[in-house]
């Protein structure tokens, strides 16, 4: 049952992508629908339902979490772009690169992967390596509060997936 639901959901998502790519042209719609279904079936084989699901949390919490994470991500990627541009335009080039290894508290799978990728687009951090729960970052400026920022992003991702927030109140501000 769960498989059928996932297959239908994936078919629908793929078809929306097809619909956008063909700019709503109806002559290719049937072909697109068939291809969407076939690709969804292949994806079920390759990534069975549940591969990325961490825990089926409350639906409402997740929607809010997605919005909150998206806002955090968009806002900070703008800050990141402006920040690097500002440093580049200053004659003295104020950077102090270095590396930093953190232990992530997110569970394995897509939450960790999302954290690593999102951090690459956020201010001052670039994901270099992710081995188990060890996340190695390259920091453009070591004077920036990188750790606090990573923890903040982690908490947003945890909320999005409906994971209980990491029980740590000491390092958090």
């Amino acid at each position: 049952m769960q498989t059928i639901k996932t297959a239908l959901l994936r078919t629908l998502s793929l078809f929306i992508v097809w619909w956008a790519l063909t700019e709503g042209d109806s002559s290719g719609a049937v072909f697109g629908a068939v291809v969407s279904l076939l690709v969804a079936l292949v994806s079920i084989r390759l990534f069975p339902p549940g591969t990325y699901a961490v825990r089926p949390g409350s639906y409402r919490l997740r929607i809010l979490g997605v919005l909150s994470f998206t806002g955090h991500f968009v806002g900070n990627s703008v800050i990141a772009g402006v920040d690097v541009a500002r440093r580049l335009l200053l004659p003295r080039l104020p950077v102090d690169p270095g590396s930093l290894t953190l232990t992530t508290r997110l569970p394995e799978g897509s939450p960790r992967w999302l954290l690593a990728n999102a951090l690459s687009l956020m201010p001052g951090t670039l994901s270099v390596n992710l081995i188990d729960d060890q996340l190695e970052l390259h920091c453009l400026d070591q004077r920036m509060p990188v750790t606090a920022f990573v923890r903040q992003t982690e908490a947003r991702i945890a909320a999005m997936y409906g994971i209980t927030p990491p029980d740590d109140s000491g390092a958090q501000s």
């Binding site: 709503g24 990141a80 772009g81 690097v84 580049l88 690169p97 670039l126």
Partner: protein, 106 residues
């Protein structure tokens, strides 16, 4: 009048986007190491692309074209994050290989 204002805003957004792309490329020349250069290329160029996408949205012929433009943006974001990570990992593992088991920091 409204149309003129929209066009003016679009032109400003397009110019801003192109400026960010130019600054991102400047990063290739000003930064001294590969990892810092990746910071410039991913972050600044993504912001530039964002400005271009927002500038183009009011002009789209139909909602599906708008969706397509947004799709391009999202795919470009995912691709740039992933490729930045892969290049960074390759650089660091190469550095460690040539340093022959020294400390992890360069």
């Amino acid at each position: 009048m409204i149309e003129f204002t929209i066009q003016l805003v679009q032109v400003l957004l397009l110019i801003t986007g192109c400026l960010f792309f130019a600054i991102g490329t400047l990063g290739l020349f000003r930064f001294r190491d590969t990892l810092s250069r990746i910071h410039a290329l991913t972050k600044v160029d993504n912001l530039g692309l964002g400005f271009l996408v927002i500038a183009l949205l009011p002009q789209v012929a139909s909602p599906t074209v708008g969706l397509k433009v947004l799709l391009i943006w999202m795919v470009a974001l995912a691709a740039s994050a992933t490729s930045a990570h892969l290049v960074a990992r390759a650089v660091v593992s190469e550095q460690r290989g040539t340093e022959g088991g020294e400390g992890p920091d360069a």
